[in-house]
Symmetry: D2
Subunit: 134 residues, 4 copies
């Protein structure tokens, strides 16, 4: 498995719900922040993949486990790892940490498919795959 | 001023914040639900305007006043009226009501501009303007 | 397995992303709309469970598979079924349909835990469990 | 007028819409990120105001003007200034900038009211007012 990319997010007021914790759906937005940074750290930007290579990476499968709540204004660290990359899809693993709290607050897994602008399957180039695995 | 279109929304858990009320930013999403229904009631859909007429209506100006909070699971009624329509922009007025509570919970005003896919100004057709004013 | 509850949602502009489809994170909000209606159809409201019985049902596990995209202004039907209920947790199954499209656009599964206001585990009452299973 | 606090945000994929720009409702979330940082820079945290001083600052009035669109992955700078503070409310001014683009992409103004947990009006303490004005 590749090295983890670490991204920081601070919980926004809009991201809390009346239970006084972060709404669970927000973690998927953070997972995506992590994926974008994972790719950027390897010398590519998802923005360029879309604009210059006509690649889209829609999420086709996702799961998450919420172990401990996070709270408004918490500074969190999202760890993102590559789980697998094939010619047509990429799997990522996610963990959310808060300094001072042992173990992850949440874990997750996302699979994205490679398609073009019209949603037709596309193959991921060799160079991109090598970069993602690095 | 034209007749008001009435749209119903129920406050979702995701739309609350830890103050135990609806997050204020959510009202702009509801205002948009109201605008979309306003247009649909007049025989056009915003979806068709985008897809068939290459029209986009980005928001360029918005204001809102929050008078009383709304709460999780409240069934609300969004009233949407046309404030003005010119060749290049449309103004809408919004009010949010909850049955049993006198007066609006929130009021607002939105101005959208008419542009094409590339964001260049476009003129609104006469027929669309007449429909909006009806 | 219990009968499915059917809830309608219309895709909001705010819920789309620049891929031109519904952002995947939005489905978790719709799943919740489905759970809330599932409970309401069985004579209880989640709001009352919170306010009158000091019960909270935070999501602890969720998964979703996205098979076909949904689009702006689509009218969707969320089917929600009970998967299991124990003394301390409830599992739900979700399917999202669009009229005219065969098969679900998305499927999912959510597990919520029963806790009190302070986040301490609580047991679900017999009557509530019976209602959920009905 | 006090000095501006500068906060950075990067546009998330979830924050775009199918027009290919940031959804306008997202700016209100960013304005709030700016307010929170404005307060933090002056030695207080909004979190502490809520938890330790039983203060809530719900938004009662907001307006925004959208001059130029922002795009996915843009790194933006939110400038937040105090417009006014009285015993019972605080006004903030917002501007959103992107490096390399002259002038703000968006401007706005928010007024928040001081209330307690039950939503009853509260007076802002002298020290807090002095800090906010510094």
């Amino acid at each position: 498995m590749s090295a983890a990319t670490r991204s920081q997010v601070r919980v926004r007021y809009a991201e809390t719900d009346q239970m006084g914790i972060t709404y669970h759906g927000v973690y998927f937005v953070w997972f995506e922040v992590g994926r974008v940074e994972y790719i950027r750290e390897r010398g590519v930007t998802y923005r360029d993949l879309e604009e210059k290579e006509d690649l889209r990476l829609p999420v086709i499968d996702v799961q998450a486990r919420f172990l401990k709540p996070s709270f408004y204004d918490d500074l969190l660290e999202i760890h993102t790892r590559l789980a697998e990359v094939t010619g047509v899809r990429i799997g990522f693993e996610h963990e959310v940490f808060r300094e001072g709290t042992p173990g992850p607050l949440a874990t997750g897994r996302t699979v994205v498919a490679a398609v073009d602008r019209q949603g037709r399957p596309r193959r991921l180039g060799e160079e991109l795959r090598r970069r993602l695995e690095s």
